[in-house]
Amino acid sequence: MRVNVTVSLKAGVLDPQGQAIENALGSLGFKGVSHVTQSKLISFDLDSTDADAARTQVTDMCEKLLANTVIERYDIALEQD
């Protein structure tokens, strides 16, 4: 299956890159843009057909490496082949 892990800054943690993007969009004349955040998408194939087991394993990966849970949150999306 394909695994997509989105790692984002937690709510309340200042995101200077998101703010810079928001300012740049505003200066290009795009109206009504707010609360821009920048996230990371980490994708990989995982040799597994058991969604529950895969989710447990990927959660462990997030906790141990993919995210720094002091400042970041993660969302796991699984796509069955």
Binding site: L14, L65, I71
Partner: protein, 219 residues
């Protein structure tokens, strides 16, 4: 004082750190490769600045999973002094020896200049030999914006764990924090580079008191 300097792929201040330690203590430190899994019997472990693993994923994230790290954690738990500078500070937060995290500088710029500092706690194993409360050191970083939640920041301040503060806002760091210790005062992480201003050939040496403090504390 017996010391070890750990080198990761992408470390670039490891030699400066080794030279600074040797100049102040008279003894060259052991040079340890990240792939080693054992440390010699030392009093100080230095985690140098640089861009370990190209800062991939997050600064210090890959280095935090190196073979040498369990030995560093074990030594720190025994009370061996640990000094992490710049990338070394980022690494110390990634491995959990210090709280919080270092984020992208608030203005997104890489900052490379000398900055004014205050020695916030002059009574630590790392700071006792600073003659004045105000000093300066060079910084060179893209991700030095210290973040921790308010409860953690309060705990750091109340426990005397803020070793250094910037004299003025530099990178967006919470409460202008430039360096912190653990509760026991045995582990210091700091963004400024004391090892770069130790050699008398380079002019003033405001970094020297940090290493002299360690020498006095360890003997």
């Amino acid at each position: 004082m017996r010391a070890a300097v750990v080198t990761f792929p992408g470390s670039n201040c490891d030699r400066d750190m080794a030279v600074a330690i040797e100049q102040v203590t008279g003894t060259p430190p052991h040079r340890i490769w990240h792939g080693d899994s054992e440390l010699p019997d030392v009093d100080l472990i230095a985690l140098p600045g640089g861009f370990s693993y190209g800062d991939y994923l997050r600064c210090g994230a890959m280095a935090a999973r190196s073979a040498i790290i369990p030995a560093v954690i074990k030594a720190a738990e025994r009370g061996v002094r640990v000094l992490g500078v710049c990338n070394g500070f980022q690494l110390l937060t990634e491995i959990g020896l210090l709280p919080g995290a270092l984020m992208r500088n608030i203005d997104l710029n890489f900052i490379c200049r000398n900055v004014a500092l205050t020695v916030d706690n002059p009574d630590t194993a790392f700071t006792r030999k600073f003659a004045t409360r105000t000093t300066w050191l060079p910084v060179a970083h893209h991700d030095g914006n210290y973040y921790a939640d308010d409860a953690t920041l309060d705990r750091l301040e109340d426990g005397g764990c803020v070793a250094f503060r910037y004299g003025e806002p530099v990178n967006g760091s919470a409460r202008n924090i430039a360096g912190i210790t653990n509760a026991a005062g045995t582990v210091l992480g700091m963004m400024p580079h004391p090892e770069r201003v130790v050699d008398p050939a380079l002019g003033p040496n405001p970094g020297r008191p940090l290493f002299e403090s360690l020498l006095e504390s360890i003997g």
